[in-house]
């Protein structure tokens, strides 16, 4: 049986990529088919090579504009025949045409309980606001900023007098668990975005168990 093929897009350290390589890659019929980076010096590229996964670098500076860069990235993903694109610390905006092309087949992990604190520096935003609970969201990518349909969320109760470095650690630990869970759920066909009707309740349907009833 053909495996479910992932692309993982990264910009930096790649700790979420590492979690995927360690807990998803080569298991339950799921393979990381390729890793794309927005920077040639991303540490994540080394992690991919160590795992024997093909890599590509798609730096904005190597292309005339973002749309051209994203076109090259799309060709790379299609050449690797991927079923799902995972943004795992990919720090650059993607062209709307790219986003539409992978509609319903691209997810992102965001370090807050969306819709609270979208955009950059989400952990800092949450601490500045003074929340007592934050968390992590895995969502489909649409053309908005962190506005796509939610696949999975997990909450984190903050310690008293939270220190940002400690909260970042807690958030990353939850990301490393939640993103692989969401990928496994999608890979086994357990997620379906309901048709978006104007004004209708937006729902991502999830099965409770593999092959189980909802």
């Amino acid at each position: 049986m053909r495996p479910f093929r992932l692309a993982v897009l990264v910009s930096g350290e790649g700790s979420n990529l590492q979690a995927i390589l360690d807990s998803v890659h080569g298991r339950e019929g799921i393979d990381v088919a390729c890793v794309g980076a927005s920077r040639p010096d991303a540490r994540a590229l080394e992690r991919a090579r160590e795992a024997g996964v093909p890599t590509g670098v798609f730096a904005a500076s190597d292309h005339s504009d973002r749309a051209v860069r994203d076109e090259a990235l799309a060709e790379f993903l299609i050449a690797h025949d991927v079923d799902l694109v995972v943004l795992a610390g990919f720090m650059e905006l993607l062209d709307p045409a790219f986003v539409r092309r992978f509609d319903g087949r691209m997810i992102n992990v965001h370090p807050s309980l969306l819709p609270a604190f979208p955009g950059v520096r989400a952990i800092e935003q949450a601490l500045d606001y003074g929340v007592r609970v934050t968390g992590v969201t895995v969502h489909f990518v649409d053309e908005g900023v962190d506005t796509g349909a939610i696949v999975a969320q997990a909450a984190i109760e903050l310690p008293y007098a939270p220190d940002i470095a400690r909260v970042e650690e807690m958030v990353h630990a939850v990301e490393h668990r939640l993103l692989p869970e969401a990928i496994r759920l999608i890979a086994r066909g357990g997620v379906r975005i309901e048709p978006a009707e104007p004004g209708a309740r937006r729902r991502v349907n999830l099965e409770r168990e593999p092959n189980g009833e909802r």
Copy 2:
């Protein structure tokens, strides 16, 4: 020793008032000193009378405008020498002058993880958005809509295919635990709003234990 005196403001059923009467009133040096209602037919008024707590009705229709109604309400609260005003399902806007008068001495319980889903119908807003985690917030009341400094939050993981009636039950059960917790914390002096400086991180300081270190 003089008890810490609460006023509870209500509009309807009063299930949060009941939780306060059952788990806070007359314990740990805390008394519910009075209950104010925005409607004469609020079931909460019966609950207060059954507990022997003085009540007052402050219906907007009995006064020439909101400011006059809120002035009468403020006099009622001051006559009962209250230390903390608790909005527990109080469904009406309060005049800014009233809010300023009780600045740092008035809290509200809101059925979402603020800043997500402020305002009315928060549970429905959250389900419409498609969140997988929601919760409850207790916050100080300021002049905005559910924007005041957060005292306590608790998260709720939603069941698959959540049914709004079931989610409302879950949220109310958490409110009945969290609001008394927040009141006890404030009553024992465990909460302090840090001076708001422009651009500074907003923080509510909380002690970890009664008389304990943070």
